[in-house]
Symmetry: C2
DNA sequence: GCTCTGCATTGATGGCTGTCGATGCAGGCA
DNA sequence: TGCCTGCATCGACAGCCATCAATGCAGAGC
């Protein structure tokens, strides 16, 4: 290297700007980001926390709503987004509706965060994560 | 239970609507949600993935920009948001700027996702969560 | 010094999102 | 049957965000 060149750690073919094969395809990124986006709101984060804190993992909407300085439609809206993201599920039981956590979703996010550089699909098939 | 009552699993004091002590205070939720929000975009998710996939955990901006169908200012904007969220750090080296992953941030998120019902602070300070 | 390159910042703009009041709908009860 | 309650949906609106072109700034080379 005669001049300053960005050291492409491990592969200095043309010095710089070697467009790398993305370890995460756009589709997967779009899908995962939807789940993260659902957690990108303090209200939804607290909702998830309240649901998960409940023994049995189930909680009635009538208990969630008064925990916030928000109207009932707003809380319902946030619950809908969490549900669409696959983070929680709902079940009607008589007059009341119960929400419960879906651990698979949070597990998936945790897996990605543990290895952000490798596609999340990989370790579902094999365990050869060096 | 004579009538239908929402079974507050473990504590059926007044039937329903017992406003529970939030296991996550709003301040903490607001802070954590900022980091999740930073991941709530497919471009930033791929950026983080690209950075983390690099051996040594460092990558030049000039390698990141051409990996997207976006203008250079837009990519720079996303990198700035990831940096503000504490997920990555930057270092100028000559003409080029290198970004690297900050594993503490992703570890913190993974910890929350593993136990969404318990405050992330608790296990650091005390355990007197009544 | 001047110029060129790599990256950040600015300002503008269209689309998305959080919030609300109003309303609808389902289930229980008298 | 009619009413009441719990929750979801709708429509509207303000604030935020992703994106771009234009510009600024720092470092390297001549």
């Amino acid at each position: 290297m005669s001049k300053y060149e960005p050291v492409a750690t491990g592969q200095d073919t043309s010095g710089c700007c070697t467009p790398l094969a993305a370890p995460m395809n756009p589709d997967e990124a779009a899908e995962l980001s939807q789940v993260f986006k659902a957690l990108g709101d303090p209200v939804r984060l607290r909702l998830l926390s309240l649901i998960a804190a409940r023994e049995g993992g189930e909680i009635c909407v009538c208990e969630l709503t008064p925990a916030f300085d928000l109207t009932q439609p707003t809380v319902s809206h946030h619950l809908k987004l969490l549900k669409q993201a696959g983070l929680i599920a709902s079940e009607r039981r008589g007059t009341w509706v119960y929400y419960r956590l879906l651990p698979e979703a949070t597990d998936r996010l945790a897996t990605f965060l543990a290895h952000p550089g490798t596609s999340a699909e990989i370790e579902a098939t094999d365990g050869t994560a060096s």
